[in-house]
């Protein structure tokens, strides 16, 4: 095979491999992804046994800590529907009522269980002015 055809052949092989790998990547990303939903969306489409990423605000007054477990409710950013979550695992420092959180949940026997260590709290107001209730002095 002359060098030019060898090069073309190499190029075709390489590109095909790239396309195959990229497709595998893209396919698995869609199947491995957890959809990010607000509480109202979650209530509409929840299926038991599937995990979802729930994002919303922690409802003030709903936080209860018992030893290793943490119970709290998450509501829509705009207010309204709230979902109670039973969570175990690391609680990030910024977690508190009124803050935005992301937690992976699964509906098990009627109860929304938070996946262990999946709780993320958005770092509050670093580049934004804090809402009035949050004025802290350090």
């Amino acid at each position: 095979m002359n060098p030019a055809r060898k090069r073309t052949a190499r190029l075709i092989v390489a590109l095909s491999a790239a396309v195959v790998l990229a497709s595998a990547l893209i396919y698995t990303s869609f199947s491995a992804a957890s959809p990010a939903l607000s509480p109202s969306q979650l209530l509409r489409q929840v299926q038991p046994g599937r995990s979802y990423q729930l994002t919303g605000t922690v409802v003030p007054g709903s936080v209860r800590r018992q030893a290793a477990a943490l119970d709290f409710s998450v509501e829509d950013r705009a207010g309204g529907t709230a979902i109670p979550i039973a969570y175990t695992g690391t609680v990030p420092d910024p977690f508190r009522e009124g803050r935005e959180v992301i937690v992976t949940v699964e509906r098990q026997r009627g109860v929304y269980v938070g996946e262990r260590n999946s709780l993320i709290t958005k770092c509050p107001s670093k580049f934004k002015t804090a809402p009035p209730g949050e004025k802290q002095s350090y």
Partner: protein, 719 residues
């Protein structure tokens, strides 16, 4: 003085606009005095922004709360050290830092190239001034660091306690230096395409800045990982968070560029690829800056007003569109001079290295922007987590490390099998011996980690072989003793041996990553004083509780009102190994929680305690229970009976009660092997990078040139 700051911003914008016009006019009309004027605009910009930055720093250090940013991120009780750093903890301040660093690095770049690349530099000047102008315009119209409120508030809100750690001072400036340095090759790349000059001179000028960008960005990323591990409370150093990924992507393409640049230098190949990498690196750096402050992706770091998103998207779209247009329209100029001779050659390995790095970048890009992609394609926003990232990046990282061991040992153009046999025997043996040793010792079955250890052994052996043979060659040529030979070998071949040291550091770093993620023992449980637990090979015992109250004992200047913690004793095989003192700080918060409640009702911050060693780290964090019925009763009684000025008395009672009747506390304990190797590897990479980038003293260059010329003459005579 805010007026001076505001004036500086306006003047800076005017200078940018004039500079763009002057540079472009100068280069299109051939009147180089205008290009020179444009270049001086960059110097002037650096001076103006230095003054503006100084005004802001003085405001912070002097507690001038008329400045809105000072009032929202600093306070009289914030220590001076953190007040100086608070400048870049806000949107406005960080934009100013970015623009200032850009102007400084651009000035340096244009000063160093002031005698060469005239037309390329003139176009580059316009691009850099355009970017600087963009950031300055953002400040003037959207987020002005010199906005004031009068009358000035008496006290400020203070620096977020999550940021009160020393690494906070260095991480953003290093990272921003990396980002801004990435835009310099971008500007020179656009300039080269516009001026139709992609050649040896351009390569020489751009290499150093691409290297510096790579170095600073890498250090910034490592510092961020170290901060996350040693000072934030979750015990990890990398979470595939959107913002972490945003800084890693330009670093990956930058690494690819540094390697493929060598191929262009030697064989005149890959010109289109290289220019695309340069443009991609700069664009990814701007995208990274955008990601952090736009709030478009959910992330631990996600902060930022939505107002900044649109201007950034416009700039990024312009960069991408413009880059594609330029490369396509100049493609005849970017044709390769040679072709790949053989698959078994250094060029081939470098190309493979590029492919792996770009593949890594693509995986990370896809995963990071997936919420937006899935939203656009399916209407539902979904995100992928660390397991998905790990699945693809781990094998790619393995291949990368392996390639970094093969590359140094293989020749350019065409390597023969006999050659390969001679050069690869020792490294392959080293890898096999490591594999057998690991299996014999009974290391738990973690195939990827074991594979990484073997690849690292391969790299160590091949680098070691290179140094050994190089020293021998030097001794044969110059008759020096071994240590002297080593020094002069490295001094005379900085790029090569500096690069080898970088590869060594990367291998060490990945050994640390593999060991600490695959062989970690973690435990989350509640303990009361006197109880102990096993973590891996260690026994951890909760000895006694601790409680400190500001301002008496706040040695770390955390500013917390009350700090509750524990003393932990760590034993291995019955011997006392370490003492740890994790704690959690409770801060004050203005609000309706009562006089006592508001002293400790703010966001709590965990203070990690760690014993770092060469073979393992023992990491501990505590979440003390401050809401037992007994403690809550003290708070509510204090709220009812004590006015705000006396409320601190109740805190003292709280502390004493906690010490006398400590409730069970939640502990997070981690034993990770070889974490230290990550930081060590990073230091080695940094050292190797410095060696590689260090300019050879001109005396050496001249000697070399003279010697080469005489050899040429002799060669001519021979021919």
């Amino acid at each position: 003085m805010a007026g001076l700051g505001r004036a500086c911003l306006l003047l800076a914008l005017a200078v940018c606009v004039y500079g763009i016009g002057a540079s472009l006019y100068g280069v299109r009309s051939g009147r180089s005095e205008f290009s020179g004027s444009g270049r001086r605009c960059v110097y002037a910009l650096a001076g103006i922004l230095t003054i503006a930055f100084a005004v802001l720093e003085v405001a912070f250090l002097g507690n001038d709360f008329a400045f809105n940013t000072v009032a929202s991120t600093s306070s009289r009780t914030t220590p001076a050290f953190y007040r100086a750093a608070a400048v870049w903890s806000s949107q406005e301040g960080s934009l100013l830092l970015w623009a200032w660093l850009l102007s400084l690095w651009s000035s340096l770049a244009l000063f160093l190239t002031r005698r060469r690349l005239r037309d390329v530099a003139a176009y580059a000047t316009s691009v850099l001034l355009g970017l600087a102008g963009f950031f300055i315009a953002l400040m003037i119209f959207y987020a002005n660091p010199f906005a004031t409120t009068r009358p000035a508030p008496v006290e400020g809100a203070g620096l977020d306690p999550l940021l009160r750690f020393p690494t906070m001072m260095i991480h953003p400036p290093m990272l921003y230096s990396g980002y801004t340095l990435c835009t310099i090759p971008l500007a020179f790349g656009i300039g080269a395409l516009l001026a139709r000059r992609v050649d040896a001179d351009w390569i020489k000028a751009i290499r150093r800045f691409a290297f510096a960008a790579w170095l600073f960005l890498g250090v910034g990323i490592l510092l961020g990982a170290r901060w996350s591990y040693a000072e934030l409370g979750w015990g990890g150093y990398w979470g595939w968070d959107a913002v972490e990924n945003a800084s890693l992507m330009p670093w990956l393409t930058g690494t690819a560029f540094l390697h493929s640049l060598m191929i262009q230098e030697k064989r005149g190949m890959l010109k289109v690829w290289n220019i695309s990498l340069v443009l991609a690196t700069g664009t990814l750096a701007i995208m990274g800056t955008f990601l952090v402050r736009s709030g478009i992706l959910n992330s631990i770091h996600a902060f930022g007003g939505a107002t900044l998103g649109v201007p950034f998207v416009v700039v990024i779209a312009a960069l991408i569109g413009g880059s594609i247009y330029l490369v396509v329209s100049r493609r005849d100029m970017l044709r390769s001079e040679h072709r790949l001779d053989s698959l078994l050659s250094r060029e081939s390995i470098f190309i493979a290295n590029n492919v792996v790095l770009v593949a890594l970048c693509f995986v990370i890009f896809w995963g990071t922007y997936f919420p937006l992609i899935s939203d656009a394609l399916t209407g539902h926003e979904a995100s992928v987590g660390p397991p998905w990232f790990d699945r693809y990046t781990v094998p790619l990282a393995l291949v990368l490390v392996l390639l970094s061991g093969i590359g140094p040992v293989i020749t350019w153009r065409r390597a023969t099998l006999a050659n390969a046999r001679r050069n690869f025997t020792v490294p392959v043996l080293a890898a096999l011996v490591t594999l057998l040793a690991l299996l014999a010792v009974g290391v738990p079955q973690k195939p990827f980690a074991i594979a990484m250890f073997c690849c690292a052994a391969f790299v160590l052996a091949s680098i070691g072989q290179e140094f050994f043979r190089g020293v021998n060659a030097r001794r044969a040529m110059a008759g020096e003793a071994a240590p002297v030979a080593l020094l002069s070998l490295v001094r005379r071949n900085r790029r090569r041996y500096g690069g080898y040291i970088v590869h060594l550091g990367i291998a060490v770093l990945f050994v640390g990553v593999a060991a600490s993620s695959s062989f970690q023992h973690a435990s989350e449980l509640g303990l009361s004083p006197g109880q102990s637990t096993r973590v891996g090979a260690y026994t951890v015992r909760y000895v006694r509780p601790t409680a400190t109250i500001t301002p008496k004992d706040d040695r770390a200047h955390t500013g917390s009102t009350l700090s509750l913690g524990a003393v932990l004793a760590v034993y291995k095989h019955g011997h006392h190994v370490a003492t740890l003192q994790p704690s959690e700080g409770f801060y004050a918060a203005a609000g309706a929680q009562g006089s006592v409640g508001s002293l400790i009702g703010g966001q709590p911050v965990s203070h990690v305690s760690m014993d770092a060693g060469a073979t393992r780290d023992i990491w501990s964090a505590i979440a003390p229970n401050i809401e037992t019925p007994e403690l809550k009763r003290i708070v509510s009684i204090g709220n009812r009976t004590l006015p705000a000025e006396d409320a601190i008395v109740a805190i003292g009672v709280l502390a004493r009660t906690y010490l006398q009747h400590p409730p069970q506390a939640q502990f997070h304990l981690i034993v990770s092997p070889l974490v230290m190797w990550i930081w060590l590897g990073g230091l080695i990479v940094f050292g190797g990078g410095l060696i590689a980038i260090w300019p050879a003293p001109s005396a050496v260059r001249r000697r070399v040139a003279v010697r080469a010329r005489t050899r040429d003459a002799r060669g001519l005579a021979r021919a």
